[in-house]
């Protein structure tokens, strides 16, 4: 298990602690810059990755045994694909509250996945009691 952020190639592994959010962000944003991605797209992807890493740490690793989170970034022609993985107990993506419902409007939480879905072109959620892997893609020029 890593004790601090470890980058190897296109992948960063962090101990499950919110203090490492900025390390993931630096890694993702600099990789996207090296692809020549425009600023607005970088922001959309960075926002989405931060949502998923927050969730992996706060909801995922909390319950699991392996307290680390990995984030992998790949370029495929004119799109970028990012995969965030934790080893928690998973969740049921069908059971999420609707953040647009009146009774949830003033809740401080519950908008993360909703925002990722609206900013990204595709969101794939694989989740079981052994962990969660969420893969997002977004077109870049």
């Amino acid at each position: 298990m890593v004790q601090k952020p470890v980058i190897s190639g296109n992948k960063i592994t962090i101990p499950s602690n919110l203090e490492y959010l900025t390390d993931v962000d630096n890694f993702i944003e600099s990789t996207l810059q090296s692809y020549g991605t425009d600023e607005s797209t970088i922001a959309d992807i960075a926002i989405s990755v931060s949502e998923l890493v927050n969730n992996a740490i706060e909801h995922g690793s909390k319950s699991g045994t392996a307290k680390e989170v990995t984030v992998e970034i790949n370029r495929q022609n004119d799109k970028v694909q990012i995969r965030v993985r934790d080893r928690g107990n998973g969740f049921d993506p069908e059971q999420l509250d609707d953040p647009l419902a009146d009774e949830n409007l003033l809740k401080e939480v519950g908008r993360g996945i909703f925002i990722v879905k609206s900013l990204m072109d595709s969101v794939d959620i694989q989740t079981s009691d052994k962990g969660t892997t969420i893969t997002i893609t977004k077109a870049i020029k």
């Binding site: 919110l18 922001a43 931060s50 409007l105 401080e108 609206s118």
Partner: protein, 112 residues
């Protein structure tokens, strides 16, 4: 995120800077807000001009600032919402919650 604050005509202006992505960010703004309320100031503007981007944690911080001030007979206004934040507020329907202004001066004047 970094946070600075100042006063203008009895209104407190909070100016977060950088990216609001979670972790310590929430606590920082929360503590500042409670310091403000306990010192008797209840009119607050959050100036968003220097925020690169925020995620749902950032939205949660804005909501908690809004409700905390309201429940203490105070009021929150937002100023200088960037395009990125505007689109988050729109898709989450939070535009209907916040009072927002094109400049800090306009927001401060609106408290009169």
């Amino acid at each position: 995120m970094k946070l600075s604050d100042r006063q203008q005509n009895g209104v407190i202006i909070l100016e977060p800077r950088g990216k609001i992505m979670g972790g310590p960010d929430a606590t920082l703004l929360y503590d500042k807000l409670h310091e403000i309320i306990e010192s008797g100031n209840k009119q607050v503007v959050i100036d968003l001009s220097k925020v690169d981007w925020m995620n749902s944690t950032g939205l949660g911080i804005l909501i908690s600032s809004y409700t905390t001030l309201r429940n203490n007979n105070g009021e929150l206004k937002l100023a200088n919402i960037t395009d990125k934040i505007q689109s988050l507020l729109t898709i989450t329907k939070l535009v209907t919650v916040f009072d927002s202004y094109d400049s800090v001066d306009d927001a401060v004047k609106a408290f009169k």
